[in-house]
Structure formats: C-alpha cells, structure tokens
C-alpha cells in the first residue's frame, strides 16, 4: 500500500511541477478550475455576461500590469492597442469575409507592430516618453477612426459580426476563460524566464542591469510588444463579443479603468488585476442604483488610497489571508502530531 501511495504521490508531485513550470501554482490552478465550473451553477444570463466582462477587463489588467510591474512603464495607450486589434479584425471580417478566429491573429499582429513601433521609438528614453507616446498614438487612432467614416462609420458605430452564433453569453465565457488562462500562462511563463528576470532587473535598477550586460531597450521592447499583442487579442474578443465598435473603445477612460483595476489588484502581481476585475465589476453592477459617474469617483478614491496607504492592493489582502490559513493548518497539524 505504501508503495502505490508513494508512486501516486510522486506522480502528483511531477504533475504539479509541470504545472508550476508553466506558471500555474496550486492556488491559481484551483482558481481557474473554480472559474471553469462556475457557469454550471449560474443560470442568470446577466450574471454570466458580467463574468465575461470581468474576465475580459481582468485579462486586460494582467497584460497592463505585465509592463507596469516588471519594467515600470505605464502603457497609457493600452485601450488604443485593444482598439487597433478590434478595428483590424472587424474590418477584415467585414470587407474580406475572413473568419473572426483568424481576426484574432490579425488583431494581435497589428497591435504588436504598433507596440513595437512605439517601443523602439521611446523605450530607450525615460519612461514618461513611452507613456506619452502611447497616449498620443491612442488619441490619434481615435480621431482617425472618427474621421475615416467611409471605413469605420465613425461615431455612428461599426456593426461587427459576432464571434459565435449564440444568443447566450455562456459560449463566450468558454472562449474568454481560455484566453484569460493563456494570458496568465504566457505572462507568468515570461516572468519566470530569463527575459522576465532581465526585465525585473531593469525595472529595479536600470544602470545595474546595464552594467551586468543586459540590454535594457531590447528587453523593454520585447515586454512592451508582448503586452500590446495581448491587448490586441483582447480587443478582438471585445469587438466580436459586443458587436459594435465606435472610436470610443480607444478612449483614455478605458485605459485608466484598466490601470485602476491593475493597481487596486496589486502593482506587483499579475493575477491581482484579474481578481480585482472579477470583484469590482460585479459589485459595481450590483450597486446599480449608483450612477456610472459615481463609479469613477470610487475608482479614483480607491486608486489614491491604494497608492498611498496600501501599495500591495488586493494581492496583499489575499496573501495575508493565505498566510493566516497556512499558520492555522500548521497549528492543526502540530496538534494532531502531538496527539499521536
């Protein structure tokens, strides 16, 4: 018995190690499994839609924090990269009749190329330049989308074919969940790789990193481009999920919403933003008596208080609870050991 016990144990260990090597630690694995079976218990279409929106914004927050937490660059045109992906896919699907699934690839490529351009141009300079440049790019793309009425119908809104032939949000949930997991795995994998190590070194002390032979610009550009490509993918999902595109998708307000989520979630972690989105979006919707505008005041207050008083954000809360649980388990174990 002990023999088979040992083999299962070693099997479990090796599987866990495999998962961990792609960035899925036990808590995140449990989290994603819970997220995967959650819709089975939810019949309410509205709640499902909220979850889809939460996952979408949460993934955007993850892609945003990837740049922020490792190389300390604020991608202030994040919504623009999402919007670029969204418009690319929508226009290709409408005009060339390709499948929206191919649109994901096209959207990612266009957003990545734009990100690469901004990165190459500005990332060798102070961080503020990249933030401003990405922001200007966003404002420019937004006004272009508004002006090129022949292509985009401007503020009238571009009707976009849906991704799936389904009336319910349930199938969409099972599209965005793998995207969210993939986003997490890719970003966490990169963070654990040599690239991630180099990026963190640059974020903490650029001169020291440079002195030990790391080319800061190269790694910053890689980091920025990956984040932008993911922004493009998420933008494509947004376009084919909502079904209408206006230049408004690239507005700075959307960037700041993602930014607020990323920071409230915790500036040093990837999953913080995801958790923050999944908590905050439904809570805001639930308090629908609160007008849309008050929501942004709350975002502002939360952002300021997290910045000043609680830099770890939601991640810190979750970690604190985790430590408490760990202590409790250890104490229980000690109790049983002393009994035996």
């Amino acid at each position: 018995m002990s023999n088979s016990d040992r083999t299962t144990k070693s099997l479990v260990m090796s599987v866990m190690a495999r998962f961990r090597s792609v960035g899925l630690s036990p808590p995140t694995l449990i989290f994603f499994v819970v997220m995967a079976i959650l819709p089975l218990f939810i019949q309410n279409e509205y709640t499902l839609r909220l979850l889809v929106v939460g996952l979408l914004l949460g993934s955007q927050a993850m892609a945003f924090s990837f740049t922020l937490s490792s190389i300390d660059i604020i991608n202030f045109g994040f919504a623009a990269f999402c919007g670029a992906g969204a418009y690319t896919s929508a226009l290709l699907v409408i005009n060339l009749g390709i499948s929206p699934w191919l649109g994901f690839i096209a959207g990612a490529i266009v957003a990545a190329v734009l990100g690469l351009g901004v990165g190459v141009l500005t990332l060798r300079l102070r961080g503020l330049f990249a933030a401003c440049m990405a922001w200007f790019l966003g404002l420019t793309l937004q006004s272009l989308a508004a002006v090129l009425v022949d292509f985009t119908r401007g503020y009238l809104g571009l009707p976009v074919p849906f991704l799936l032939d389904a009336a319910s949000s349930r199938p969409y949930y099972y599209v965005i969940l793998p995207i969210a997991i993939l986003t997490y795995v890719v970003l966490q994998g990169l963070n654990q790789s040599n690239i991630g190590l180099a990026c963190r070194a640059i974020g903490q002390n650029t001169e020291a990193a440079e002195a030990s032979g790391v080319n800061p610009t190269k790694y910053k550009v890689i980091n920025f481009t990956v984040s932008c490509a993911l922004a493009g993918v998420l933008g494509v999902f947004h376009a084919h999920f909502v079904g209408v595109l206006t230049p408004e998708v690239m507005a700075t307000t959307h960037t700041t919403e993602v930014l607020a989520l990323a920071y409230i979630g915790g500036r040093a972690s990837l999953w913080g933003g995801l958790v923050a989105a999944l908590v905050i979006i439904p809570v805001f919707e639930y308090l629908r008596s609160i007008v849309m505008e008050v929501r942004f005041i709350i975002y502002g207050l939360l952002l300021i208080s997290v910045m000043i008083f609680y830099p770890e954000g939601l991640t810190g809360v979750v970690r604190g609870v985790g430590r408490l649980l760990g202590k409790l388990i250890r104490r229980l174990r000690q109790g049983t050991e002393s009994q035996s």
Binding site: D72, L128, W135, F136, L137, S143, G300, M307, I308
Partner: protein, 291 residues
C-alpha cells in the same frame, strides 16, 4: 479664412492657451518630478468657477477671471497638501510612476464630481466683452479672444519674471535643479512644492476662466487642453518653461495650418508625426539640452 495672415493669427491665439497650460505642466514636472494628468481638470475648475462668478453672481469679467484662477490655485494647494504630501511621506520609491497614477485618481475624482454635481451640460457665458478688433480686412477678432490672448501673455510673462527675478522664483528653480542642495542652503522644500503646484494650477485656471466665452465649462472640457500641453512639453523638452512657451505657439500654428488644409480631426495626426520626428532626431526636445 483664406489668407495666410488670418491663419497665423488664429494659430497664435490658440498657441497662447497652449503656452499657458504647458508652462504650468512643465514647471511641476521640472520642480516636483510629477507628471500631472489632472492638469486639465484644473482648467475645468477655473472655467466652472468663472461661470459661477460671472453668470450666477454677475461679477465684473476681470474679477471673474481672477476668481477662476484663484479657485484652481486653491484646489492645487488642497491636492498637493493632501495627496502628494501623503504619498511623499509614505514612499518615494518609483516616484514618477506613482505620483502620475495619483494624479490619474485625482483627475477621475474632479471630473466625475463635476459631472455628478453639475451634470454633463455646457455652462458658459455668451461673452465677457462684446465687440471686435479688426486685424486684417478679412478677419475681425472677437474681443473675448483678444482678451484671452492678452491674459495668456500676461500670465506667462508674470511666471517668467517671477522665476527669473524674484528670490522665491530662484528658490523654485534651485529645487528643480537639485533638491538636496536646495535643502542644504535652507530652502523650505515643502513650501516650494506647494507654491509650485499652486502656481501651475493657477495658470491652468486662468486659461479655463479667460476662455469661458469660447469654450463653456463642462466636466470633460480639460481633456483637450491637457493633451495639447503634453504635446508641447514633449516637443519642447521636459521641464523647460521657456521652451514650452515657444512650443505652445508652434503647436498652435501647426494645428491651425493642418486644420485648414486637411480638415478637422487631422490635427492630432500632424502633431503626432512631428512628435515622432522629434523623438527620433532630438529626443531631449527642441529646446532641451540635458536628458
């Protein structure tokens, strides 16, 4: 709008506003190392205050503009003393990023508070002064615009004289150059920070108040001036006050020329191309010398 001269006039008038906004923005960036995203909201505070002073209480236009500027300055003091001071005492790690995000929060709060209190409608005054100044045969300049331009020139000049000729102004510049050194010679850094931020907000408020007849007050009215002033700051080089005054006029001219040659909506494209060229060829900005 057919002659070249008209275009130059319009461009200069626009440029006055940009210079006013950008010089305050770049001052805060240089002295406090804060990239202020809420700068446009101070413009908004100025224009709302002027609306209430002028339209509701019926004060004299000059007094109205003064009240607008002072209201924005007071808001600035409040923000500096509460938010920035708290952040500065908590942590100075990654200050530029963190203080920027703080201003994003401040911007959210100011914008949407205005929205909740006064709603999305435009609140303006028909005009401060009626009448025209005939500039060229084809173009008569409304008196309001002329006055806004004069206010911008006066504001920018006072700032310049203050920074170069007065002891306090020199102290502010000393803080911008080397904070530790300034502290060692006995400059009260905290007071200088508050003063700088208040001054910068005052200028933004002055812009908002003096342009009220042309752009009515609205919760999101500050966004346009905000990103124009960022264009100018990058064009001129971070922290360079004189450069940003000149840069303001340059961007004003550039936008007017694009507007009349290509139509509305293309000004941003033109400005972006110019910024890209500047970043490629001279990343320290047109007038910048140090990185």
């Amino acid at each position: 709008m057919d002659t070249m001269l008209d275009m130059i006039f319009i461009g200069l008038l626009r440029g006055g506003l940009y210079a006013l906004m950008a010089s305050g923005l770049t001052l805060v960036l240089g002295v406090m190392n804060i990239s202020n995203f809420a700068h446009g909201e101070l413009y908004m505070v100025g224009s709302y205050a002027a609306y209430f002073a002028g339209s509701v209480f019926g004060l004299h236009p000059l007094l109205t503009i003064l009240i607008g500027a002072l209201a924005a300055g007071a808001t600035g003091v409040l923000v500096e003393r509460t938010a920035f001071h708290a952040l500065r005492t908590m942590s100075r790690d990654k200050w530029l990023t963190n203080s920027f995000l703080l201003t994003v929060g401040v911007s959210f709060i100011l914008q949407y508070s205005a929205f909740v209190i006064w709603g999305p409608t435009y609140k303006g005054v028909p005009s401060y002064w009626e009448g025209f100044v005939p500039l060229t045969p084809t173009f008569r300049l409304p008196l309001d615009r002329a006055f806004a331009f004069v206010a911008a020139v006066i504001g920018v000049s006072i700032l310049w004289i203050f920074l170069t000729r007065t002891v306090t102004g020199k102290a502010i510049r000393a803080v911008a150059e080397d904070e530790t050194g300034a502290m060692l010679v006995g400059i009260n850094i905290r007071r200088m920070h508050t003063l700088t931020f208040a001054l910068s907000c005052l200028l933004a408020g002055l812009a908002g108040a003096s342009l009220l007849p042309i752009t009515p007050a609205q919760p999101f009215v500050g966004l346009g001036p905000l990103f124009k002033s960022y264009f100018v700051v990058i064009l001129a080089g971070f922290g360079n006050v004189m450069g940003s005054i000149i840069g303001g006029f340059l961007i004003g001219l550039l936008e007017t020329v694009t507007y009349y040659s290509f139509g509305a909506g293309w000004q941003n494209v033109a400005s972006l191309i110019v910024i890209m060229l500047v970043l490629l060829l001279k990343p320290t900005g047109l007038f910048g010398s140090k990185q």
